[in-house]
Amino acid sequence: MTDHGDNQQGRNLTSAYLSISGMAKAYRGTPALKSVDLDVNEGEFVALLGPSGCGKSTLLRLVAGLLEPDEGTITLADQRIGHLPAYKRDIGLVFQNYALFPHMTVARNVRFGLDMRNMPRAEAETRVADALALVKLEHLAARMPSELSGGQQQRVALARAIAIRPRLLLLDEPLSNLDAVLRASVRTELRELHARTGLTIVMVTHDQVEAMTMADRIAVMSDGEVLQHDTPQQIYEQPASDFVAKFVGTPPAAMLQVDRKIDGRFAVGDTIWSPSPELEAVLAPIQRVAVALGLRPDHLALTSADAPHALPATIRTVEYLGAERLVHVEAGGQMLVIRLSADEPVVTGAVGVAIVKSPPVFDLTTGLRLGRAG
């Protein structure tokens, strides 16, 4: 919601390819979406990221026309499509469970949308062949869906959606039914497909790694609202709220509550702590008694307990990940994670945690980012 103002300005200056504004939807009085605004540029790959129940699938279905919004407008390529039924929207949709027609061959599935457009047979056959070639499944055209593996079914679903040359391609959790190995390769394939076709893609996912690795921009959603819509790098480095910071990144950012004492010093739990001059400069202008620092492993370093400005801490566990280790420490009753390369020695017992990079600062109650420049 913090970049709400920026968004509104952006829409007035340049009209986006897909523009959603004031979109609201409630199910039996329970709001699933609360006035969502979202702009997607032509050719962009946008991920709607959020935990289950955050409204991302509802938003996708509203765009597809499978649900009717209570309020709000959708504009696609300068055309208002909010009133159009789903079958007139020319929007390709790939479902989590693929939703292939079980009584039709792969080729008939892919041709379905073309038949609906009454395309001449020869032309349709060419399109089907092209679409199947794009997902490298030409050799399976005559098979029935039940004879295909999950990954193959998903590619058929993709080919079927692409064959109609959609104005927009929507992907609903496209990777969640695939096993881990397949997931990584499909991730790259989808990226390549996006590059080759130049399609505008909106993907729904609950997996932040998927969103980070695939999307040009990510809209992080929670509780029926878009919290932040930005590039993966901005989302990671400049989270707009503590929710975004905690939802994105592996491991996610830890929230460290810092209290300001009457005498101007800072405390973490019961421990009095003097932050580095750089961090103090960040904290100084923030008029709060207590704030939360969003600390990722790359903000932190392990030092000795008596190092200047170090936060006294105790090591709890060490996770070995091959190239690196994750050290979980407790400081002032709160858990932090520090990343160490495999050859760095781990000291045991009492250690110090140094904050080596200025972390984002959040309001304790609202969770919103504080003290941002500008």
């Binding site: 279905r61 597809a64 026309g65 499978l66 039924p85 789903a86 079958y87 007139k88 929207r89 020319d90 929007i91 390709g92 949709l93 479902f95 989590q96 469970n97 939703a99 292939l100 027609f101 079980p102 009584h103 379905f112 949308g113 609906m116 457009r117 029935m144 869906p145 039940s146 004879e147 679903a157 079927r160 959606a161 109609i164």
Partner: protein, 288 residues
């Protein structure tokens, strides 16, 4: 050992089936090859095909046979047209309200054919509720004759056997993933194409099962055509009743019954063959 105890457990059921169903049926089949002595309550137990020859050559019985089948087919079609949207509507409700609606669908069947049919007499008679309503609304001047007419019998058959269509349809349709319909719509299918290309083909198992049930129930029905037809509509059921209870020609009534059973049995076998072929060709049965 397991086999022995299974057989033991089956014994009471097998006994009941044998005593009250199989042996009377065997006797019925046997009787159909006998003849009734004229002006006598006794039968002549000499093997003869005369009853079957009579069925095959007497135009009256052939006409009744065709009329019965015709009524059955029309009932199936009307039940399909009414049942498909009902089943689909119920299939898309939440599980709780689906349960309530299924109970509502089944309730009339539990109340018994006689109660239902007599209720329909009240609705459909010349001075009945429906004629009264239509007159009040100024849609008709003279009462429509439902009773003693094919229309009335059809209404009765549809009313009685619609649940037999809706339940198997509902069973198939509630297993269809909703995403299939969403996919078809997103690919550009308007409602009628969605039905023709996706919903109907994938509901085929339910359509076949429901059609068979309704067809069998209506061609073998007796109460509905007897009461609503008021003796003017002849079906196999009413004719069998006349032959056995009024004419007192049990062997001939038996032959009529056996003929019907053989026809229906043949139909079941034919449908099974068709379904197996369909399943082999498209894997529908396996996938749904």
């Amino acid at each position: 050992m397991a086999r022995k105890s299974t057989f033991l457990l089956l014994t009471p059921g097998l006994f009941v089936t044998g005593a009250v169903f199989l042996s009377p049926f065997a006797f019925l089949a046997l009787t159909s090859f006998w003849t009734q002595r004229p002006n006598s309550l006794l039968v002549d137990p000499a093997f003869t095909l005369v009853n079957y020859v009579r069925i095959a050559t007497d135009m009256f019985f052939l006409r009744v046979l065709f009329h019965t089948i015709y009524l059955g087919v029309i009932t199936v079609l009307v039940c399909l047209v009414l049942g498909l949207p009902i089943a689909r509507w119920i299939a898309r409700r939440a599980v709780v309200s689906r349960g309530i609606l299924v109970v509502l669908i089944v309730t009339p069947m539990v109340s018994g054919a006689v109660v239902q049919t007599l209720g329909l007499v009240n609705l459909l008679s010349l001075l009945g509720v429906i004629n009264g309503l239509l007159k009040q609304l100024g849609l008709i001047d003279r009462s429509i004759r439902f009773l003693g007419d094919e229309l009335g019998v059809l209404i009765g058959l549809v009313q009685a056997f619609l649940p037999l269509m809706v339940l198997p349809l509902l069973n198939t349709m509630s297993k269809l993933p909703e995403d299939l319909e969403s996919a078809a719509r997103s690919l550009g299918a308007p409602a009628w194409r969605l039905w023709m290309l996706v919903i109907l083909p994938l509901s085929m198992p339910g359509i076949i099962a429901g059609s068979v049930l309704v067809f069998f129930a209506s061609v073998t029905s007796f109460v509905t055509p007897q009461i609503l037809g008021q003796g003017r509509i002849q079906t196999f059921g009413t004719v069998m009743y006349q032959q056995s209870a009024l004419v007192n020609d049990w062997p001939f009534a038996s032959a009529l019954a056996v003929t019907m059973m053989v026809l229906l049995g043949g139909l079941v076998l034919a449908l099974r063959a068709i379904r197996q072929r369909l399943a082999r060709r498209s894997n529908v049965a396996g996938a749904v």
